[in-house]
């Protein structure tokens, strides 16, 4: 009997959703594994460097697990499809880079307005426009916050390692469901393509938080799809659940019906912002190194934080009073912690190295009169530790 026929009789190993164990893995793949571990069951995406490895891994791994992978015709379609799938109950995901992220902006606003949870990984490359497709950038930070028209709340994570790509992607799905918002994972090309150790815990140790639904069976009484609970987040019913929901991008009342008045609009948009703003202390994450006595505070995120960490450690070894505030969520921004540091009076200046021309620096400048030193590069290469160290010494 030919070997391949014999092989066909061997029962295939049951595919595993959670690859528990220790791996050597690139950030893009860790992000994809994080999504799978979080229970993601619908992916709609379009190839784009440097994010494509996410789609490729999911294309291979998701269908045997019973989920659906669809390569859409463009990013406009990708984001629309994941919102639609989520409206039908899926944990849905897409991955892209700057140009695709720009194309998704209109429907990111739809997801915010309809309050449909979804997760979008943006592996940042040097921009604007086509820029340097294969090289690093960190210049989608403000687009992630303000890219779609109007006011709305979002959550954005900035992993600095493949391990965080995994951990934060799991968290992104949980937060998307908990707050019914689009959540971004802002990788950058360096983090997306670097390989490091990634430890994936056993499935039962991975926390899964799912969106809340109606607390009564369909047909019993009318379900008001946009009547928020005390946490400002309304329970969500899905297509096919029997609650006959209506969702629209128009300003809507608690039934979800168009209600085109300034009063309802103001109330609705304030809630979309406040449900994130007032939960910022629960959502916001950062890492601190030696901030308690620091006169110079380096604020950084993503791959640049790796250089900043090295520079801060070197500077402290030289006896310079400095520390690192590493943003893990860039949105919500750790405004309260920065205000605390300023009010304590010890800090004399901030240094903000970033691979863009000063997007994060603006956030800090609006909080303080203290000097905010910049170290910027438009993109294409990492900022080196020596350059940051030189600025700390200055």
């Amino acid at each position: 009997m030919p070997d391949n026929a014999a092989a066909a009789r061997v029962p295939a190993k049951k595919p595993s959703r959670v690859l528990t164990g220790t791996h050597f893995m690139v950030g893009d793949h860790a992000c994809a594994e994080g999504a799978l571990a979080a229970g993601m069951d619908f992916f709609g995406g379009y190839p784009i460097t440097p994010s494509t490895e996410i789609a490729e891994l999911i294309a291979r791994r998701l269908p045997p697990l019973g989920g659906r992978f669809v390569q859409m015709e463009d990013e406009l379609a990708s984001i629309a499809a994941i919102i639609g799938a989520s409206a039908a109950g899926a944990r849905s995901f897409t991955a892209t880079s700057g140009p695709g992220f720009s194309l998704m902006m209109e429907n990111i606003g739809l997801a915010a307005m309809m309050e449909v949870p979804c997760v979008i990984a943006d592996v940042q490359r040097a921009s604007p426009s086509t820029g340097l497709p294969t090289m690093v950038g960190q210049s989608d930070i403000l687009q992630a916050r303000w890219g779609s028209h109007g006011d709305y709340g979002v959550i954005a994570y900035c992993p600095d390692s493949p391990q965080e790509c995994f951990d934060l992607t799991v968290r992104a799905f949980n937060d998307a469901d908990k707050y019914r918002v689009p959540v971004f994972i802002l990788l950058d090309e360096v983090v997306g393509h670097m390989a490091e150790r990634v430890v994936i815990p056993p499935a039962e140790e991975i926390p899964i938080v799912r969106r809340k639904g109606p607390n009564f069976p369909p047909g019993e009484r009318r379900f008001l799809g946009y009547a928020p609970d005390d946490d400002m987040v309304p329970p969500m019913a899905h297509a096919g659940d029997g609650y006959k929901v209506h969702m629209t991008g128009l300003t809507h009342d608690e039934k979800g019906y168009p209600a085109l008045t300034p009063e309802i609009h103001d109330k609705l948009v304030n809630r979309l912002v406040d449900k994130i703003r007032l939960h910022a202390s629960e959502i916001e994450m950062h890492e601190e190194i030696a901030l308690d006595d620091a006169e110079t505070v380096v604020v950084s995120f993503g791959c640049t934080a790796r250089s900043a960490r090295h520079a801060v450690n070197e500077a402290r070894a030289e006896g310079i009073s400095c520390g690192l505030l590493r943003l893990i969520t860039v949105w919500p921004f750790p405004e309260r912690r920065i205000r605390e540091l300023i009010e304590r009076g010890k800090v004399k200046r901030f240094i903000v190295p970033e691979i863009n021309l000063g997007q994060l620096r603006r956030e800090i400048e609006r909080l303080t009169q203290l000097p905010v030193l910049r170290l910027n590069h438009a993109g294409g290469a990492m900022l080196k530790p020596d350059a940051i160290l030189e600025l700390i010494r200055s």
Binding site: L76, A77, A80, S92, R222, G240, Y257
Partner: protein, 276 residues
């Protein structure tokens, strides 16, 4: 706790499709003489005739007057962004294949801003029914010409008449892979309902163009008169040609009244569907 309210129990002698309309959203925003209400009526009848529970039907719309259709039907319904109804509907149809997904939107939404999604959804043969209400112009924004405006017809953005070749939508849908393709008008109420039902009962991508008057915008710019007058044009000039294969010849010319408007169920073929 959610704030809830009691469902109002309808009277015993209600119309058969009353339960399929969101009565609490009436009166609707549509103009007198508009054809969209007739399309919604036909869709509701098709749901009732489908034999499937209402819970299994989903309606998705884009933007524009026709995009408001989803807001009036009492099934799970989604009023999305301009042009993106089809990929949104794909997400639902692929995640929950047991649901009967229907997209109701306009010619501008589906064939202009959403044109790329139309050809790809047809190519993939996603299991859904698309009802494209063609009123030959952008009605919501006040009567601009669009991708289906016949050559010579006027609009606010073509005051001397449209000069671009319009899409022949059934031809486009057939060429890009739809397994069910029909064109009707709102005069052909029963034929339209039947076409929707046939498409619903078929696995794969069904495309139904339905011509509808827009007396406020298109009719006024083109001296067609009220909605009834446009329906009268349909009555005089429509020719039914079921199964016709020469769809490329079925352009619509509203100016030259010697040319027929060809309607019918043109395509009904089998092809592997997206999840098949």
């Amino acid at each position: 706790m959610s704030v809830t309210e009691q469902v109002i129990q309808p009277a015993a002698n209600i119309h058969p499709i009353d339960n399929l309309l969101r009565a609490d959203r009436l009166p609707h925003i549509l103009c007198p003489g508009c054809g969209i209400g007739t399309v919604i009526h036909g869709y509701a009848h098709a749901i009732a005739a489908s034999g499937l529970p209402e819970d299994q039907h989903v309606c998705v719309s884009g933007i524009g007057c026709s995009g408001r259709a989803a807001g009036y039907v009492n099934v799970d319904s989604y009023h999305t962004t301009h042009g993106r109804a089809l990929p949104f509907a794909l997400g639902i149809a692929v995640h929950k294949p047991e649901l009967k997904v229907t997209v109701i939107s306009g010619d501008g939404d589906l064939a202009s801003i959403g044109g790329n999604h139309l050809i790809h959804a047809a190519r993939r043969n996603v299991d859904m029914t698309v009802i494209c209400i063609n009123n030959f112009n952008y009605g919501m924004t006040g009567g601009q010409v669009g991708p289906t405006t016949p050559i010579g017809a006027k609009g606010t953005t073509a005051p001397d008449g449209a000069i671009e070749q319009p899409f022949n939508l059934p031809y486009l849908a057939k060429a890009t892979g739809a397994v069910f393709v029909a064109r009707w008008t709102i005069l052909h109420v029963r034929e339209f309902q039947d076409a929707v039902l046939r498409s619903m009962n078929k696995k794969g991508f069904g495309f139904i163009e339905v011509l509808a008057p827009c007396p406020t915008s298109f009719g006024k710019s083109n001296k067609i008169g009220d909605g009834l007058h446009e329906v009268e044009i349909y009555r005089q000039r429509c020719q039914i040609r079921h199964g016709a294969t020469n769809l490329e010849e079925f352009d619509i010319d509203l100016i030259d009244d010697t040319k027929p408007i060809v309607v019918g169920n043109f395509v009904d073929v089998e092809r592997k569907h997206f999840l098949g």
